[in-house]
Symmetry: C2
Subunit: 295 residues, 2 copies
């Protein structure tokens, strides 16, 4: 068992830190809003600190799950950040979905001071965080990953080292690129089925047996047809992730026309008030335009 | 066992007619190119006729699997077409992926003469036709479908009546709409993974466990990465099917922006010489542009 600090108790971090404690690790938490940290300690035990620097002092591992590049820099290299107290030999594990740039930058800063840094974005969403069944895509040095793996195992169903620093983030980007166009295609299919007067549930039962099948089709078609989006992975977060993809693609030369189109559709979902809706709400945009049509 | 005529011995119809004969039905075939019909008879047995009208005479069922609306009209209501000899009480089963319009039109013509018509497009491709594991989406009258079902069972793993005449075609359209955007998203993801210097096979192994998973991801990523497209469902056919979708969407008011974009990308694949490539060749277009980039 290890001494672990956990920075960021959002919808993902809160249950993830809980899994660490339940596995027997000695957990110290930090959260920007202190009341959340107090609630966590009341629920799980462990202790909380007022700054990342205090939380990271004396730990073997410091784990973060915050919002974006800026938040990540704040809790690491910012004033009273974890890197001010992170000990030589300790490993920083970052679960934030962030850019490969910031991952490489923090990896370099950490290494220069004899510390480890593993970028480790996750997939599996809030449900995966709560059940401890996340998939974790890692970048960094093999020896650091080997030490981090038993720690993240507390809330992972699978983890894998994908390559050098930043590779975890790049892998997560591939995941988001594949999802965005796929969900739009599914939304168009369901929208068409409704307009065509078909029973969309029956259609999905039939076509999900073949080449159109997807996790999204099987797990989201019912809520998409019902217009229920008050759960899951928010449109605002997806747009943040896609912005990272486009920024990286500007550097590596990849062309992402469907992802770019879908990002614009997500902007329209935001305009409809759906920034916090699940990413499957792309169908709400199609239906909204449909509702405006003259009979 | 029944007397069945089969019209159209293409890559799909050829093995499908073979399954009918192997199940014990008495099969008479017709093909526009007579040599193909002769080859079929030499391989399987049964008999062939020189026109759809001759093939359809005296049959309980007439099954068609031809190229498009025009071909379908030719073998049914055209000169020497099957409807000239189709007997009252017989059922015409159409496996062509065609418009809902032609399905409703032929259903009305058949019904007015006391005959049955079931639109029954398939999914599962050449492999499904050869192994007898197609999924069949049907439209028409319940009693006609009930009689047709045991016939198509010769090459189906599943069949279902989706609603009135044309509903089979509309369901197939939903299938193609879902596939087109999904494959483009997958192509962009794999293309990005390569440009980002990741091991794309490792990436797929990880992300196919989660929300990005699809049949296409699992069954096409290896050939997409290898640039192998000389198999499967051709781009030319997909464009024909998508044209039917857009035509129907003009009538029912559905909005299909991603499908429309991908259709234009397929036009570019055709321009690259890939009209007969598998639909997964969307990645070839991305890679082709990539190869033109200045270093």
């Amino acid at each position: 068992m290890a001494k672990v600090a956990f920075l960021g108790l959002g919808v993902m971090g809160y249950p993830m830190a809980g899994h660490l404690l339940k596995k027997g690790h000695e957990v110290t938490v930090y959260n920007r809003t202190a009341a959340k940290a107090a609630k966590w300690v009341a629920e799980f035990g462990g202790s909380s600190k007022a700054t990342p620097r205090e939380a990271a002092a004396g730990q073997a591992f410091v784990v973060a799950c915050v919002g974006n590049d800026e938040d990540l820099r704040a809790v690491t290299i910012g004033p009273r950040g974890a890197f001010e107290s992170l000990e030589a030999g300790a490993i920083f594990i970052d679960h934030t979905t962030a850019s490969a740039i910031v991952a490489r930058e923090l990896h370099a800063v950490a290494k220069a001071a004899g510390k480890g840094f593993v970028d480790a974005p996750v997939s599996g969403g809030q449900a995966g965080a709560e059940s401890g069944a996340l998939t974790i895509m890692c970048g960094g040095d093999a020896d650091d990953y080997a030490r981090a793996e038993p720690i993240v195992a507390a809330y992972a169903k699978a983890s894998r080292l994908m390559g050098p620093a930043g590779s975890g983030q790049l892998t997560k980007m591939v995941n988001q690129i594949c999802i965005s166009g796929l969900v739009q295609a599914l939304a168009e299919g369901l929208h068409f089925a409704k307009r065509a007067g078909l029973d969309p549930d029956a259609v999905i039962e039939v076509i999900s047996k073949g080449a159109a099948q997807s996790w999204q089709m099987e797990n989201r078609h019912k809520t998409m047809l019902a217009g229920e989006f008050d759960f899951g992975f928010a449109v605002n977060w997806m747009r943040k992730d896609l912005a990272i993809c486009f920024d990286e693609a500007r550097r590596n030369g990849a062309s992402l026309p469907a992802a770019a189109l879908v990002d614009q559709f997500y902007a329209e979902v935001q305009a409809l008030g759906g920034g916090r809706w699940d990413t499957s709400s792309l169908i709400a945009r199609l239906e909204a335009f449909s509702a405006l049509q003259k009979p």
